[in-house]
Amino acid sequence: MFRYYLLLGLRSLRRNPALTALMVVTLAIGVAASVSTLTILHVMSGDPVPSKSRRLLVPLLDVGPRANYSPDRRDPYMTQSTYPDAMNYLRSGPGVRRTALYGVMASIEPARREDPLIDLSGIATTTDYFPMFDVPFRFGSAWSAADDERGARVAVLSKRKAEAIFGSKDPVGQRIRIWDTDFTIVGVVGDWNPVPRYTNLINGSGGYFEGEEQLMVPLKAATDLAAEPNGNVSCSHESAAGWAAFLASECTWIQAWWELASASDRPAAQAWLDAYVAQQQRGGRLERHAPNELFDVMQWMDFLKVVKPDSKLAVWLSIGFLVLCIVNTMGLLLAKFSTRAAEVGVRRALGAGRGAIFRQFLVETTVVGLAGGLLGLALSFASLALIRQQSKDLSAVAHMDWEMLATTFAIAVLASIVAGLLPTWRACQVTPALQLKSQ
């Protein structure tokens, strides 16, 4: 019977191509508008590291002075750690791995003066960074813990940058001159592109979604060479001049990460942090006694407002638009079906039950929905391509995945069923007797 209904549906849709096209197009643009905005939101708010996101923690302390503390006002710039705290975490913090990182900028001096410089934006970090964030290696490997200890002049490059400098051959063992010092390349990172870039949201170049760390060097090597942070520095206390004083200051500019063996170790990590803070307070620091916070990956992205309100606004308005398209299609279907009251009357007289009529018209609206879904999918790809032109950040997030592909279809078919329900129901209400006389 389904094939019969399908045949009837197709025939009826062919009968009135302009109206059919109008319904399909209306549904399609409604679907495309909401799917493209939803896709962006979906990617923006996606979990970049589902296997670990609840085990990776960012500790955050309020290091501000007591005098101007008010618990309801949060310093928007204080989102990182001080150097001393970061060092203490690295030495004795909780979890199976710990790292700290800050943004650096470097230029590779060419061998000959006339050649252009190669600029690198990257991070100074520790060896645990690589296994902690599942960073794969194309060539070589991470530096050793001993290199961290010594502040060895070693570097890891991104794949793209390594290719730009050395071509596709293995550059491990080659040297680059940055910060007036020779660094030996120990590794090249393979394809690794978490979206959002949760590891370095604050200081990453290219925004929350786009860009990459082109250079990674040991934290101690960078601080030994006084490589200034390339990113936010927030100082809430007066501090003395010079690099050593800066390192010792209460300025926050390093981001710390802890990896726990299991998400259930979090209370223990919190206890460690509270104990650490209590100990520091005995030494006269952290006089605000503000809550000591831990964020897992999703909480961290939420805290830093990775998803901008504009993206949510766009989703809301486009869903409103989809509702309009559904109401519109509902009206068109109602018009279409009402011209077929005579047919329904005859079919009913010839023995079709209400259910049969309902199924027949439902199949017809579902055909419209599927067509609208397919066209909507095509339009979504087009509109996402258009959105990618808008900004680098958007170009990283405006990508369809399988989940969204399925969602698109579900939305389209659901939309057409919702749109078709009222007209279909109305069609079923046609009483056979009324239509018996002349048309």
Binding site: M1, V346, L350, T431, K437
Partner: protein, 235 residues
């Protein structure tokens, strides 16, 4: 075949109650060809709608083929219509989107026959009405008489026990009307019971039995050829 006893049907609007049928009795035997006449508003159409299970009634009893149809669900009524009844309408009521084959196919689809059985029945029904060669034409390409023949084929394809016809010749010129009438008589001779509503006294008289409805009540004007004489004498 069809037995109605003390049937009533009342139409209500918020102001008025109209008794379309009151104390309506009729008994149609298997194989009969009954014509129904009466002035407009007398209840002819209501009778036919109720007989065809298109409308429900308020009081009394209705046995169709020995089965009481009182209180049947919409679905059960649909099934009965599909299996036991055939309809022919004044306005033909073919579905313009479908060709002749598919029009005749409609009740068979709801019957659940397989494809081969449907094809056999459709071809046979269209052959009976003389339109087998035009199976893939659309209703709009046919004359009124031909359209009514298709409607008859559609009614016959499901081999109904009872054929209900509402002014089947009302929209046709007299020559076409006569040929449609002959076709119906042929069908009746082959064993199908027919009830036909008509305005045309000539057609009404051709049938073996005529029921006249006035003010929602039925009265038999003629029961078989033998009863013609007394009435004629009165007239």
């Amino acid at each position: 075949m069809l037995h109605m006893k003390d049937l009533t049907k009342v139409y209500r609007t918020h102001m008025i109650e109209t008794h379309a049928l009151r104390g309506f009795d009729i008994d149609v035997k298997e194989g009969e060809f009954v014509t129904v006449t009466g002035p407009s508003g007398s209840g002819k159409t209501t009778f036919l709608n109720i007989a065809g299970l298109l409308e429900e009634f308020d009081g009394g009893d209705y046995l169709l083929d020995g089965v009481s149809v009182k209180g049947l669900s919409d679905n059960e009524r649909s099934r009965l219509r599909n299996e036991k009844l055939g309809f022919i309408f004044q306005g033909f009521n073919l579905i313009p989107d479908l060709d002749l084959f598919d029009n005749v196919d409609v009740p068979l689809r709801y019957r659940g026959f397989n494809a081969a059985e449907r094809r056999r029945r459709i071809e046979q029904a269209l052959t009976e009405v003389g339109l087998a060669s035009r199976m893939r034409h659309y209703p709009a390409e046919l004359s009124g008489g031909q359209q009514q023949r298709v409607a008859i084929a559609r009614a016959l394809a499901g081999t109904p026990r009872l054929l209900l016809a509402d002014e089947p010749t009302g929209n046709l010129d007299s020559q076409m009307a006569r040929s449609v009438m002959e076709l119906l008589e042929q069908i009746n001779t082959a064993g199908t019971t027919i009830i036909m509503v008509t305005h045309d006294p000539e057609l009404a008289m051709r049938a073996q039995r005529n029921v006249h409805i006035i003010d929602g009540r039925a009265s038999d004007l003629r029961r078989g050829p033998s009863l013609v004489q007394p009435h004629a004498a009165i007239a």
